[in-house]
Symmetry: C2
Subunit: 478 residues, 2 copies
């Protein structure tokens, strides 16, 4: 994985300042820039690897360090136990009557660092090179979480108040599946009640191009097993008279798409909600070079559902993909076996309002229809997650557009994400508050890989953007 | 593997003696029956496992023992070196002018015996139970080779002559691929010149049912690799915009057959020569129970090329089978990978006059036509072998029918074999002599498995059949 942004992203250079950060906030952030960096580096030096039990002490240390930093910023803080690593909660509830309450979510745990020998500088010794802050957790998510703390500090230090009530919820288990988060939110639903959630744990579309992430795909993951004879047979002695489960599996998979790569499973698209033309139009306007993208992935050609652009295919359309195949003899050379069984891992990426349960139903019914006689087929659901889509309307999105434009000097773009961030759905479902995803990462940032980095410019501008966000949100509607 | 014959074989009980063994041969064999068994057991006690270097001394011992036994029978013998284990050659060339010369092929090497704990009695301590001679090599092929030696001995001991010239060629590398045999035949082509070859290294269709094996399928084995992106990708981040090689492979494989399991690769059947209606009719008359066969293989149902019986599908029709599939993630649970490549092992069983080369051409051309854009496909030939079919006409086949009928009390049946015996083609090709396959094994005999056995009745009747064969062959045409 390269440390450079993928070459298929053209770089924008369109500056049209519309909104400015209040002077006292701007001054404060400029004056305290060095301290903010020093503190971020101290945060990054704590090896808070949630997956490794030997880092349990570091997890506690990171939680305490973060709580202390929030207290310094002016928040009431509390370290709250969960079934796993604790949640750090920071609160400021002094906004004027009628003000909105926002919940900012982030995480203080980081991914493991192996393989260590691929790091140019050690993962827990932050180093700045070429405008990038290299360290494990720099962009995922300590830097993006911490810039929120610094923005809140700027408000409280300069004005003694915020225009909104704020809850900061930082968990320590995002990199191990957030297994205790939904129960935590459920348990503290009243205390966490809010009007909006804001999460900065994603990336901008390209350098200089502030982005609002408007959608995530869901997932329905299956294991399909086709069974034929009771055991592997000699393909000479039996071949031709016994249905081959590997061939049968291939024939089943071949019915999943038509010749235009449209999923051909009846009912598959039944619950797909149309995308807003406005959002599709914005996505189509994004600078994207198919040929560069093709070279980046190294495929002979790109192809997918007919009549859709690459970004539409990834962000807005459901898929049905084979993730794995296994049958018979797979070693070196020739072994003449008629396999007793064949297995495929197949997963569907979902878009609103598809659900893993409904997809399992249509997939299973389809396979029962198309499976050849002579084999038996089972479909087991292994994993599922709901898709998510933001409304992209309302005061918070409007405020975010103005704040991002103000900080980065150009209108933000709307992006989608082909993968999943399961906690987003949890917040919306339990707290019934819309979620805003504004991330300050960049393509190629190596989250989860060696040489993770965060753009220093994005750390600085991101702090200004979220500082501006609370003022913008509190402004009366135009 | 069970020691019992497969339950799908009905047993015949149709006796209609037509030809009898000459009384002096019959008397000699009856009188020397005990000695023949003692000698066979001595042969079986030699652990001549060609695949294991620790048995090199045993291989020499077996070759010497066999040469000595042939000498006792009245043959001129020679142990001849090859690149591996030696060939034992026995010759008798005293037949009247104008007599035919026959070459009898067999092998004195045996399969390894592991797993030893599954043997009821030790593999190299022959034991008779329920009319079966249990020992490694009993049926494959020491017993079947040795009964030829005993038949020749009966002729030479009682009459001092044979009605045909005889060459016995016993190799020691059949179980390791006969790599040195074709060069040996080439090198000694003049000395091995003959009118007919006879091989007893196969099985009868059922107990009491003498069989002439009339065909063997050939093989064309390929590895197909479909390559998409340069490496595995995240199926969320890329899925839908990059063609999935596993899906592409499944779509390619799905085009190999039509809905009636007829191979749908254009040109695949071009070189298939029609089967003689007489042979097909004989095969259709064989006692065969599909439902018992289905239960034996343990498949939910049998299916194959429409309009063909199970035995026709296995013996007379070419196939295109998937032997293995591998792509992406195949471990436990869910991993959301879009695989970089997908591999299938695919092999075609061939019937005359298909060739591995021609099949590679039509398969490759077909795959090029049907492969979706966005992937590249390579087809590598791993292994090939020509199919074979006997003429089933002429003096040798007629003589064999009479001799088998005489010895077993019923007309032999014509069988096929779905697998391959490569040396058959070598003999025909190099020596330009037709090959007769008359085997005295039985279904369930555990060749290559623990508890290998040969029917004692078949050893005794097989000796009489081949003793009769030379007299029948020498008779003037009716």
């Amino acid at each position: 994985m390269s440390g450079d942004p993928p070459c298929w992203l053209n770089q924008f250079n369109d500056f049209s300042m519309t909104t400015a950060l209040a002077p006292e906030l701007s001054d404060y952030l400029a004056k305290n820039d060095r301290r903010a960096h020093d503190e971020l580096f101290a945060f990054l030096r704590i090896p808070s690897v949630s997956a490794r039990s030997e880092h349990k002490g570091d997890m506690t240390h990171a939680a305490e360090w973060l709580a202390s930093s929030m207290r310094t910023a002016g928040l009431q803080t509390e370290i709250m136990p969960t079934g796993g690593h604790p949640v750090v909660l920071g609160e400021w509830r002094g906004a004027p009557a009628g003000a909105k309450t926002v919940l900012i979510y982030g995480h203080y745990d980081v991914q493991p660092v192996e393989p260590l020998d691929l790091w140019t500088t050690p993962p827990f010794e932050p180093a700045v090179r070429d405008g990038r802050i290299y360290a494990r957790g720099s962009v995922d998510d300590k830097g993006q979480l911490f810039l929120h703390v610094k923005a809140l500090e700027a408000h409280l230090a300069t004005r003694g108040s915020l225009p909104v009530n704020v809850i900061v919820l930082a968990e320590g288990e995002e990199e191990v599946g957030s297994g205790n988060l939904a129960p935590f939110i459920e348990r503290h639903r009243e205390r966490l009640r809010c009007d909006y959630c804001v999460i900065s744990d994603s990336s901008m579309f390209a350098p200089g191009l502030p982005s609002i992430l408007s959608s995530l795909r869901g997932l329905a993951y299956f294991e399909i097993e086709v069974r034929g004879p009771a055991s592997d047979l000699h393909s000479g002695i039996y071949g031709g008279a016994v249905v081959n489960p590997a061939t049968a599996l291939a024939r089943i998979i071949a019915t999943f798409h038509d010749e235009h790569w449209h999923v051909a499973i009846p009912g598959f698209y039944d619950d797909v909600r149309d995308w807003e033309p406005r959002v599709l139009k914005e996505m189509r306007a994004l600078p994207f070079d198919d040929e560069r993208f093709r070279r980046e992935v190294g495929a002979p050609a790109l192809d997918g559902e007919a009549g859709r652009t690459t970004l539409e295919r990834i962000w807005t359309r459901p898929t049905c993909e084979v993730n794995g195949l296994l049958s018979g003899y797979t070693g070196e050379g020739a072994k003449t076996v008629l396999p007793g069984k064949a297995m495929a891992k197949v997963s569907c990426r979902l878009v609103p309002d598809q659900t893993p349960d409904a997809i399992k139903r249509v997939l299973t019914a389809h396979i029962e229809r198309v499976a050849p006689r002579g084999v038996s087929v089972t479909v087991n659901a292994l994993h599922g997650g709901l898709p998510w889509r933001a409304e992209m309307r309302g005061p918070l999105v409007d405020a975010a557009r103005r704040a991002l434009a103000g900080a980065f000097g150009r209108e933000p773009v709307i992006t989608g994400e082909g993968g999943s961030i399961p906690v987003v759905g949890d917040f919306e479902r339990i707290l019934r508050a819309p979620v805003l995803l504004i991330g300050f990462g960049l393509p190629g940032e190596n989250a989860h890989a060696p040489n993770e980095w965060m753009s220093d410019e994005n750390f600085v501008k991101g702090t200004r953007a979220v500082a501006m966000l609370w003022d913008e949100l509190a402004k009366p509607a135009a």
